[in-house]
Symmetry: C2
Subunit: 464 residues, 2 copies
């Protein structure tokens, strides 16, 4: 029986080639022009799960993109791990900032990845991290090392809010029954500082539209005499934060969990260099809510950011126009106990109340999800911690992430099990940005670490 | 010798056909993709001036688009009228709001134009209004009715700030020598309420850029911890007006001319229905500087409007991104005595000072021009007034416009002559907007009125 390390050594070129093929398909779920490619990716995932040793693989249709379900049940009395991932990717824009085309993967060395990194949209988020689990399964089945049952649920709508996954999960509670859910869709602090994500922020994503006059107007003839929807929109958005960068929506903070001084002191121990952080982003100062550190601002505190804004003439040159409409996409990151649907309602009510006479305002809720916290004394966390110890030679640090995987709290509610977030990406991997990449070392380290999780989880579950 | 009325009756179909041909060429000066079309339009203007009776027509090259110069000198001792107009047009976006393609002119009846109106980009601004002068010249030369000398100067960069016209005028003072400048690039109050524009606002047009982090970031991982350039931009723009909608740029109002109560009372006599104004724009309230009426806000008061804003993800669906950059195009309309270059500097200094730590701000001045006032006791104004009386049967009302023709104050400075603004468009003609149009009645009425101006101006000048 071959060790995981030697199996990776023998197969690493193929592991990379297979991932590269997957990354070539532009599975952009947000843009309906790529529908065929998203569906093609689901088919590719199905085939890869079959090849890796699943006994049953199904493409489960939804009202949107299908969910690929696979399983290998070796003994109903043994524990079951449910792996979740997604095969869709973020839109690649702005395209002109990519150094190589987003769907023509290339391996290039970087300062943080001297062994090379795969550059492509989805390399890290989440095709690369999801595919580690497929290859880990391949190792375990080929070498008779699978100690328990495994189920895969790989969806195609994560980047657009997992709109149909909730229904699927609720309708398939029995099929998805499990003892722990395993996801690699987060990051770790550094290659020599392994970490496990124990907290996620929730999300409320809305689109707002401000309408003034019924048509675009000449800014000379009408300027100053009618409400300009863009000026009004900037005023409305600006008023959503006060001078301390607190969010001004009434009731927004009511349910926010306040960490104790001891908990904050514990958090502050995580290695972090503000100078390096600023340098890597080329900014002269950080910015955020008064009274909190950078690491607190992006993990335990809720936020409100404009993700996109547009209106009027945005082409070359000048056009002296007052636009009829102005738009923005706004998202709020939420912390545990904030209810995303309630926050969306509070936003809507408040934003609409900000509209001055002379404009009409529409708030279109987009999607959202709850925040989440994993207890570090759970068997799942302990098993993951041991797995990292085995392959990294050190105990991983529990870490709260600022990101959101809204489906995690839904899993707990519907399937009554805890999720373990074993992420192998780095903050610098530029997910959601141009030049997204995923280190070859990280990819292979993930494949190496995952089978140890299965081993320790089964032992702790069966014996403990 | 044929009267102008009967000449128009005999030739009106041809007058319309010729204008329609001119409107088919998309001479969009702001977009370099249309360079060939802009140049083609200059050639078409040259030919039309030759056909109308000019003795000399030249395409004068500049660093940008050429200026078409034409003249008919009948006697050096007689007065000279210099006609200015422009052959370039505004970009037509948003295209999807046009009911017919912007460069495929069609004549359709409207409520305000029961005789029909020509729908096309540039129909009113300024190809249609400029071409009235070409056809008026044709009538006068063909019928031996030209009482004085005439010069034409038709440029191709008015919609991008007339960047090269100033140099051309300064370098050709002798060639352009004249007794009065005549322009049709404004509007009149209504078809039964003729008016002459006696005031124009100045303009300062800038583009601003806010840069935060050096790349687009994931809003979950960085949200709340770094300055979001879009949020910052909205705050900066919002702060440019106070709660009374006064502009907050220090020094902005220092040179603003304050009208006396008597002058304001005189202005208030112009026919205006606020209810109709709101109805035509489908707004429930007007909006603007406290203490001023709608007609004052858009004529005697300076303004600041965002003409375009963009940043982040603006496509279909959701993208949870913090953009690296956010942009806006901002224009200020200025009143007489405000120096546009000084105002641009005040804006730049103030806007840059608003930037919080964590972002960098760039202000790119685009173009600008001075405001202008024509005295109603001048010979030019009196001649125009008599011309309207002749063809409309009533005395026109002097009116201040909110728009800008920056070149007018430059003409006064360089050529030492006053400009008369005989506009025949209506506010509802949607210039700079989708579905721009120009009434057939207005077009023909302009051709009819212009020769009377030449007659009265020459008589007043020679006899007076």
């Amino acid at each position: 029986m071959q060790s995981i390390q030697s199996y990776i050594n023998d197969n690493k070129d193929r592991f990379l080639d297979e991932l590269i093929e997957l990354l070539k398909i532009p599975s952009i779920s947000a843009d309906s022009a790529y529908k065929k490619d998203v569906l093609k990716t689901a088919d590719a995932i199905k085939i890869s799960l079959e090849k890796a040793g699943c006994d049953l693989v199904e493409i489960c249709e939804t009202e949107g993109y299908p969910i690929v379900y696979g399983e290998k049940i070796i003994d109903k009395n043994l524990p079951t791990v449910l792996v979740y991932g997604h095969y869709d990717v973020q839109p690649p824009d702005p395209l002109d900032l990519w150094n190589s085309p987003p769907f023509e993967p290339v391996i290039k060395k970087t300062e943080k990845h001297p062994e090379g990194a795969i550059f492509a949209r989805g390399a890290c988020d989440d095709k690369g991290q999801m595919y580690m689990h497929v290859k880990a399964l391949e190792y375990m089945t080929k070498n008779n090392e699978l100690p328990c049952n495994v189920k895969f649920m790989i969806e195609g709508e994560e980047e657009v809010g997992s709109v149909n996954l909730g229904k699927f999960v609720a309708a398939n509670r029995e099929k998805l029954e499990n003892d722990v859910i395993l996801i690699s869709d987060t990051g770790m602090i550094a290659k020599d500082v392994p970490s496990i994500t124990t907290g996620l922020r929730g999300l409320s994503y809305v689109e707002v539209e401000v309408t003034g006059p019924n048509r675009d107007l000449h800014s000379g003839l009408y300027g100053g005499a009618v409400a300009n929807p863009i000026n009004v929109l900037t005023k409305m958005i600006a008023s959503l934060h006060d001078e301390n960068n607190h969010i001004t929506i009434p009731g927004f903070y009511d349910k926010v969990e306040n960490l104790s001084d001891a908990e904050r002191a514990e958090m502050a121990k995580a290695p972090f260099s503000l100078e390096e952080y600023k340098k890597s982003l080329d900014i002269d100062a950080v910015y955020g809510e008064a009274g909190y550190t950078t690491n607190e601002r992006n993990s335990i505190r809720p936020t409100l950011d404009v993700n996109g804004i547009w209106g009027g003439y945005t082409g070359e040159g000048a056009k002296t126009v007052i636009a009829s409409k102005a738009y923005a996409k706004i998202s709020m990151r939420l912390v545990p106990h904030q209810e995303w649907e309630e926050i969306t309602e509070l936003f809507q009510k408040h934003f609409e109340s900000l509209a001055p006479a002379g404009v009409r305002v529409k708030v279109n809720p987009h999607h959202g999800g709850q925040g989440y916290v994993t207890p570090i004394d759970s068997i799942g966390y302990q098993a993951a911690s041991k797995a990292y110890e085995q392959t990294f030679g050190k105990t991983p640090i529990p870490q709260r992430s600022g990101g959101s995987i809204p489906i995690v709290s839904l899993f707990e509610q519907e399937l009554k099990s805890k999720t373990i977030l074993m992420g192998f990406g780095l903050d610098s991997d530029a997910i959601h940005s141009p030049n997204e990449h995923f280190g070859v070392w990280n990819y292979l380290k993930g494949i190496e670490t995952i089978p140890w999780f299965y081993k320790h989880f089964t032992e702790l579950k069966v014996n403990g």
